[in-house]
Amino acid sequence: MIELRNVTKEFGSKRAVDGLDLSVRPGELFAFLGPNGAGKTTTIKMICGLLAPSGGSVRIGGHPASSPEARQLLGYVPDQPYLYDKLSGREFLRFVVEMYGLERRHARSRIDELIDVFEMNDYIDELCENYSQGMKQRVVFASALVHDPKVLVVDEPLVGLDPRSARIVKNLFLTQARAGCAVLMSTHLLAIAEELADTIGIVDHGRMLATGTLGQLRDRLQHQGPLEDLFLKLTGTDGPSLGNEKFAIKQPTTA
C-alpha cells in the first residue's frame, strides 16, 4: 500500500533521505524507528505528499504520493497536530467529513461513533482552544480515521497522551491493521514498537539499516536482547555518552 523505491531527499547540500526503500502492505503495522535527525519525519512528509522527493518514487495504493487519489486513501496524524482554535471538535470533524466527500447520511453516525471510541463526549462541543494536548490529540486521531483511510501514517503517536488515551490509540492501531489498513508509525518509544509492530524499520542518516520482524532483526544481528539494545547496536552507539562515564549505557553481556 505504501511503496518507497530508492527515495532520496536533499536539502541543499544535506541529504536527509538517502536511497530509502520501504514497503508497507495492507494489514501491516510498520514501526519506523531512528534517532533524532535520521530522516523519519522527512520520509513521512514525502509519503503524505508534502515534500517532493529529490529522487526515486513514493506511491500510495499505486498512486503518486502527491496525487489527490493518494491523499484520499491517507489518514495522517502529524507530530504537532493542527486544529482550528475557534472551531469545536465536532465542527472540525464535520469539516473533515465534508472535505473527504463522505455521504452525509453516514457522516453523522461515523462522527458519533468516533466520539464514543475516543471518549470525547464531555468536551467535543467546546472550542478547541480550550483543549489540553491529550484532548487535541484524540480529536486529530478521530479526524484521521473519520474517512476510513486505507493508509494511516502517524508521527510520534503517543506524545501528550495519558495512559488511558495511549491504550485507546494502541488498540486502535491494531484494530485498523487487522481491518486491512496499512499503518506506518514513527516513534521513539521502542516499547510501543516492540509491543505492536508487525514489522520494524530502523533508519539512520536517511538510510534504512534494517527491516523485519523483531525476531528477524534478532536473528540477523545475532542478538537476543530487548529492542533497545538492537536499536543502539544498529545506530552505532552502544551507549550515548554525555561526557561522563557514569551516564554511559552499558551493553549487557550476552552469553
Binding site: L50, Y84, E98, M99, Y100, L102, D116, D148, A179
Partner: protein, 585 residues
C-alpha cells in the same frame, strides 16, 4: 472502553472527491469560524469590539473631513481643478496598487508556505488551487480593509463635493472590489513565483524590492520639491503635474480606476462602464492566472520552501558580548544577559531590522538633503516649523517601531514564558531589561536623526538642546508604554509579531503612543511657534509671545513635558509590572 471502529462496511465514500465538495467544505469552515469569532467578540470582548469600531469611525470621519477640505482647497484652482483631481486619484490609486500588491503578496506567502493550516490542508484531498482560493480570500480580506477605510472617505467626500448621483456610490464599491482583486492576484502570483524561484531568499527579495520602490518614491518627491516657480502658483502646479504624468499612463490599473470613478461621478456612464469592464476583466484574468499558477506550482513551491530552511546558521559570540558587558557594567548582569538575548533575536531576523533600517535610513537621507532644498536659508519661523515637523515625524516613526517590535516582545516569549518565570530574577527586572533594550536602540537612532535635522537647519543651541531633551522623553515614554502594555495585554498564542501588533493590544498601544507624542510635541512646539510667528509676521504681534513670555512659557512647557514624560513612562510600566507579577505561567 471501546476500541472497535467499524469502518469500511458502514461507510460509503463518494470517490473521487469532487472539487465542488472541497469548496463547500472550505466555505463551511469559513462560515463556522466567522460565526464563532463573532459570537466570542460579542459575548466576551464587547469593550474590545466597541473600541475597534469607535476608533475606525473616528479615523474614517477624520479622513473624510480631511479629503473634503482638500477638495474644497483644490476648487480654488478653477482651471486646473479637474486635472489636479485626476492626478490625485491616479497617484492615490497607484500607491494603493503597490501597497495592496505587497501586502497581499506577503500575507499570501505566509499563509500558503508557512502556516500550519496550509500544511494540514495539503494532506487533504483538496486541490492546490482550491487551497489557494481559500487562503487568498483570507489574505485579500486581511490586506484590503485598510484600503476600504482609506478609499471610502475619499470617494464619499468627492461624491458630495461634485454632487454625484447615487449610482456613483454603488459603482465605486464594484470598482473597489475589482481593484483589490487585481492587485491581490498579482501579489499572490508573485508570492508563489518567489517561493519557487527563491525559496531561501524570500526576505532578501522583499527587502531589495521595497528598497527599490522607496528609492523611486524619494526620487519622485525630490523631483516635485525641486519644481521651479512660486509654490502653489499655476505655473508651479503645471510643472509638478508634468513630472507626475507617468501616473496617467493608460496601462496602469490605477488609471482605469481613477478615470472610471471620475466619469461615474460626472454621470458619464458609458465611460464609467467601459473602465469598469476593463478593470473587472483584468481582475478576473489575474485571479484565473493566479489559480492556474497555484494549481501547477503551489505544491512544488511548498516543498522547496520547506526544504530551503535546512541551511543551518552557526552563531558566533565573538567580541561583542564582553564589549557589551563592559559598556553597561552599571546594569545588573542578568538584565544585561536579557538585553543581549533580545538584541540577538532582533539582529538575526532581517525582517525586523531591515524595515527599521529602511525607514530611518530614508529619514536620514531626507535630513541630509535639507540644505539642498534650501530649508536652512528660510526664515527662523519656517526653520522652527520644519524642525518640529521633522521631530514629530521621527517620533511617529519611533512609535510604529515600538508598536511593531517592542510591544510584541513579551508575547513572543509565548510557550517559553515559563523560562522567564523560573529565572533567578525578580519579574520586574525582566521588564526593566526590555525597557532598557528598547530605550537604548530608540535613543541612539532618534537622537542621531534629530541632531542631523537641527544641524542641517542651522538651529540655535537652545533649540537643539530642547529637541534632544524632547526626544529623550519621547524615547523613554514610548518604550515604557510598549513594554508596559505588552506585559499587560500579551498574546501568548500568536507567534507572528505583525499579527500581535495588529491585534487589540497593539492597536491600543499605537493609539496611546500617538496621544503621548501629541501631548509632548504640542506642549513644546506651541510656545516656540508663537514666539517665531511674532518675529515673522507683524500682524500676529497681538497673540505672539514676547522674548520674556517665550522664556516663561517654555519653562512651563518643559516642566509639563517632563511630568507627562515621567508619568507616561512610569504608569504603563507599573501596570505592566503588576500584570506580569500576577501572571500565572
Amino acid at each position: 472502553m471501546q476500541a472497535e471502529i467499524h469502518g469500511s462496511d458502514s461507510l460509503v465514500r463518494s470517490s473521487p472527491v469532487s472539487d465542488s465538495r472541497a469548496a463547500g467544505a472550505l466555505r463551511m469552515l469559513r462560515r463556522d469560524l466567522i460565526r464563532n469569532k463573532l459570537r466570542i467578540a460579542l459575548s466576551a470582548s464587547r469593550l474590545r469590539a466597541a473600541t475597534i469600531l469607535f476608533c475606525s469611525l473616528v479615523f474614517w470621519w477624520g479622513l473624510f473631513l480631511l479629503f473634503l477640505g482638500g477638495f474644497q482647497f483644490i476648487g480654488i484652482y478653477l482651471d486646473l481643478a479637474n486635472t489636479i483631481v485626476e492626478y490625485l486619484f491616479s497617484m492615490f490609486f497607484l500607491s494603493l496598487l503597490v501597497m495592496l500588491f505587497f501586502s497581499t503578496g506577503i500575507i499570501t506567502y505566509t499563509a500558503l508556505f508557512h502556516s500550519r493550516e496550509s500544511t494540514f490542508l495539503l494532506t487533504t484531498p483538496a486541490s492546490a488551487d482550491r487551497i489557494f482560493a481559500h487562503k487568498f480570500i483570507e489574505a485579500i480580506a486581511f490586506s484590503s480593509w485598510g484600503f476600504f477605510l482609506l478609499g471610502s472617505p475619499l470617494m464619499v467626500a468627492y461624491g458630495l463635493r461634485v454632487n454625484a448621483s447615487a449610482g456613483f456610490y454603488g459603482m465605486f464599491l464594484v470598482y473597489l472590489v475589482s481593484f483589490v482583486l487585481l492587485a491581490g492576484s498579482l501579489g499572490a502570483i508573485a508570492a508563489i513565483a518567489v517561493a519557487n524561484i527563491f525559496p531561501k531568499r524570500q526576505k532578501t527579495v522583499l527587502a531589495l524590492t521595497i528598497a527599490a520602490i522607496l528609492s523611486a518614491i524619494v526620487f519622485l518627491a525630490y523631483q516635485v520639491v525641486r519644481a521651479p516657480g512660486e509654490r502653489m502658483s499655476s505655473d508651479w502646479l503645471g510643472t509638478v503635474l508634468g513630472r507626475l504624468a507617468f501616473c496617467q499612463n493608460p496601462l496602469w490599473p490605477s488609471r482605469w480606476m481613477s478615470a472610471g470613478l471620475l466619469a461615474s461621478a460626472r454621470s458619464h456612464w458609458a465611460t464609467a462602464w467601459y473602465y469598469l469592464m476593463i478593470l473587472s476583466a483584468h481582475a478576473g484574468l489575474a485571479y484565473l492566472v493566479g489559480a492556474v499558477v497555484a494549481r501547477d506550482l503551489y505544491r512544488r513551491g511548498y516543498s522547496r520552501v520547506q526544504g530551503g530552511r535546512s541551511s543551518r546558521r552557526r552563531a558566533r559570540v565573538g567580541m561583542f558580548d564582553p564589549f557589551f558587558h563592559r559598556c553597561f557594567f552599571f546594569l545588573p548582569r542578568p538584565i544585561r544577559l536579557l538585553i543581549l538575548k533580545d538584541l540577538r533575536t532582533f539582529l538575526r531576523d532581517p525582517a525586523q531590522w531591515s524595515q527599521f533600517l529602511i525607514f530611518f535610513g530614508l529619514l536620514a537621507f531626507y535630513f541630509l538633503n535639507i540644505r539642498r532644498l534650501s530649508y536652512d536659508l528660510q526664515s527662523p519661523y519656517w526653520r522652527n516649523l520644519v524642525s518640529f515637523l521633522n521631530l514629530a515625524v521621527t517620533a511617529l516613526l519611533l512609535s510604529t517601531f515600538t508598536s511593531r517590535f517592542i510591544f510584541p516582545l513579551l508575547s513572543l516569549e509565548g510557550r517559553n514564558f515559563w523560562v522567564l518565570g523560573l529565572l533567578p530574577l525578580r519579574r520586574e527586572q525582566i521588564l526593566w531589561g526590555k525597557f532598557a533594550f528598547s530605550s537604548g536602540i530608540s535613543l541612539v537612532a532618534t537622537e542621531t536623526l534629530v541632531l542631523m535635522s537641527d544641524v542641517m537647519l542651522r538651529m540655535s543651541p537652545l533649540i537643539i538642546g530642547l529637541h534632544v531633551g524632547m526626544v529623550a522623553i519621547l524615547c523613554l515614554g514610548l518604550s515604557g508604554i510598549s513594554v508596559g502594555l505588552g506585559a499587560r495585554l500579551p498574546n501568548l498564542h500568536e507567534s507572528d509579531p505583525s499579527k500581535i501588533a495588529a491585534g487589540f493590544g497593539g492597536t491600543l498601544n499605537l493609539l496611546v503612543s500617538l496621544v503621548f507624542i501629541f501631548s509632548i510635541v504640542t506642549a513644546l512646539a506651541l510656545p516656540c511657534h508663537l514666539y517665531f510667528a511674532g518675529q515673522e509676521h507683524a500682524e500676529t504681534a497681538r497673540w505672539a509671545l514676547s522674548h520674556y513670555q517665550f522664556r516663561f512659557w517654555l519653562i512651563v512647557a518643559i516642566s509639563v513635558s517632563v511630568v507627562v514624560g515621567v508619568l507616561g513612562t512610569i504608569i504603563p510600566l507599573r501596570i505592566g509590572i503588576k500584570a506580569f507579577q500576577e501572571m500565572e505561567l
